[in-house]
Symmetry: C2
Subunit: 364 residues, 2 copies
């Protein structure tokens, strides 16, 4: 990373015998699991508000994923059709629409953001040697690593071409920066993989770069092309960044506890790939020497035997590592909601607040 | 490809019993092998003209390939140090300097072009499963496919960030377009690999996209940021495109006849990878049924035995396929030189003319 990221790295790990989130009072803004069961938060309001624009985004995506080179639209369509929620482009649309943005630039940037994300997924699957993506066979399993690398490159090129059409150098700068940072985060993760000495600070830098940076950029470009003040743009960016962190932490927790049907991937993918995620960092800090030897064998040496995943999940639960990860997600979710206070009180703001709760409710 | 490419596809194959290049009178502009031996053309003039700017490009490349993520500068430095001629950035510099461009934008764009090229090399090596690159072990052999994919992505992101700094949306459009087209060409090549039915037209589309498009873009952005007319910009683009085609055809010929020391890779890489290049297309058209069975076994089925490469080279020479490929390279070289006529008569123009002859002299 070019800049230090003290804010995220400074959050201390809360011990099981401490009052959870004692110092993280913002978390109260996020519905607790109990409240959630009474009033299920969702992204329906967000989807409704951007529905007309999202239709245009989808049309643009299909048209720009086209190519006379047959394999490109086939692979692009496979990914685009495979049912992602399109959360990132919705952020761009809502955060432009909130300011009454009248042009077509938010639609184009939203499609660019989704292309960047899709390109990342294609390359991630190659890097992680994944077999599944969103409940379907990964593109690399169907068409090979080579095609996944190259179609990812194509989509990235198309994304930048589309951004140029919008004509905002500032939006281009933000998204190009995100593109470099995402790749940097992935390289960092490569270095952290299979290394149980990975610190929480190092882990947070990884997810800030590989996941949250695109949420942040997708959010920031909305007010940027609407000509809003630096303060407003910064608040939108902070919302996206913190939402992205919460989103990734929830994903990390789900990988050891969600149902594979919900997540669209098998439980235990991170475990099998030797990824050091926050649940593992917490478990390593709280566990015994014997536990440490277990993580070392499984994650560093890749020596995974029958029953190890079940043992890992039991261990994470016993040490409160999953709960701790979810508490962190709530913390960042609350911080995202707090950032919204600087934005105008429109239905979009409520929708963006709901989106945070939706992300966290996936695991609560 | 989004647009048809009739110009390159319409060049007919010249039969061995025809007068070589009878209809390609422009080729006379390029020094023949005999003339060359008297007055060795070189890129010294080009290198001298852009030396001061190239120093700035090299400094910028080193600074922008930096990252706190250790693996990134290591891999980037490995590639950047490995002795590429930096032909593409020299084109950008010369074609801005020719018009007295006074800013720093040409230096930044030249560095961006080199980053785009380096990113392509990293991804190519993964796609081709290459072991060597410019006479050194390929990055993927030293640090793995994963790091090569991701560091390529990082350099591409950095390239776009740098382009934004220049502030020319038109230059951004040209380079973003090239980025998408290069990837499209690589996917096309994937489809053409191991398919001996590949036509010359299909082959030319591949190399126009995967190689010539970046030469064209690197050349065009020089006059673009210098505020030149559309005609001048188009001439610079045509120069780059035709030079790129000539360059790739020479590479294809060298793969069956150059010395590995000159090329920085082993002879026969294309053969072993089942790549259908122009020498093969010509040989298939001119050869016997028995020859066809040989190419099919080696290139389509990948069943390569001791002595097959020697047999392939002997066959290509006997059928005049290498000479035919070099004649094509001369044709495009001549066309590149003709395009220069539209540009001002400065030392840069002479240097760009010499650069064409230099590229072709590699094989003559």
């Amino acid at each position: 990373m070019n800049a230090p990221l003290p804010r995220t790295a400074e959050v201390p790990i809360v011990r099981p015998n401490q009052t959870p989130l004692g110092e993280l009072h913002l978390a109260a803004l996020v519905a607790s699991a109990a409240e959630k069961s009474q009033a299920q938060p969702g992204i329906q309001l967000l989807m409704d508000l951007v529905a007309a624009d999202m239709q245009k985004v989808n049309e643009l995506i299909l048209s720009k994923a086209g190519s006379n080179v047959e394999l490109i639209p086939i692979i692009a369509k496979h990914l685009i059709d495979s049912g992602g929620k399109r959360l990132r482009p919705m952020l761009t649309l809502a955060l432009a629409d909130m300011f009454g943005y009248a042009g077509n630039g938010h639609v184009i940037l939203a499609a660019s953001v989704e292309f960047m994300h899709t390109a990342t997924l294609l390359h991630d699957d190659v890097v992680d040697e994944s077999d599944m993506r969103r409940g379907k066979l990964a593109a690399r399993k169907l068409w090979g690593n080579q095609a996944s690398v190259l179609v990812g490159d194509y989509l990235l090129g198309q994304a930048f071409k589309m951004m140029v059409d919008v004509g905002s150098l500032e939006a281009l700068r933000i998204l190009a920066e995100a593109s470099a940072i995402i790749a940097e985060g992935e390289v960092m993760q490569l270095g952290a993989a299979k290394n149980i000495e990975t610190s929480e600070a190092a882990y947070l830098k990884v997810i800030e770069a590989k996941t949250a940076a695109l949420f942040a950029a997708a959010s920031e470009v909305g007010p940027v092309i609407s000509g809003q003040s630096p303060e407003i743009c910064a608040a939108a960016r902070r919302y996206g960044m913190d939402l992205g962190l919460a989103f990734q932490l929830v994903d990390d927790a789900l990988d050891y506890g969600g149902s594979s049907a919900d997540l669209g991937k098998q439980v235990g993918d991170d475990f099998r790939e030797g990824k050091i995620t926050l649940p593992i960092v917490v478990a390593l800090e709280r566990g015994s020497d014997e536990d440490r030897a277990f993580w070392k064998r499984c994650l560093e040496q890749g020596d995974i035997r029958d029953g190890d995943l079940d043992h890992a999940i039991a261990l994470l639960r016993r040490l409160g590592a999953i709960d701790e990860t979810i508490r962190r997600a709530r913390h960042y979710g609350a911080s995202a909601i707090a950032a919204l206070e600087a934005l105008p009180d429109t239905p979009h703001r409520q929708a963006l607040r709901d989106a945070v709760e939706f992300c966290i409710a996936r695991v609560s």
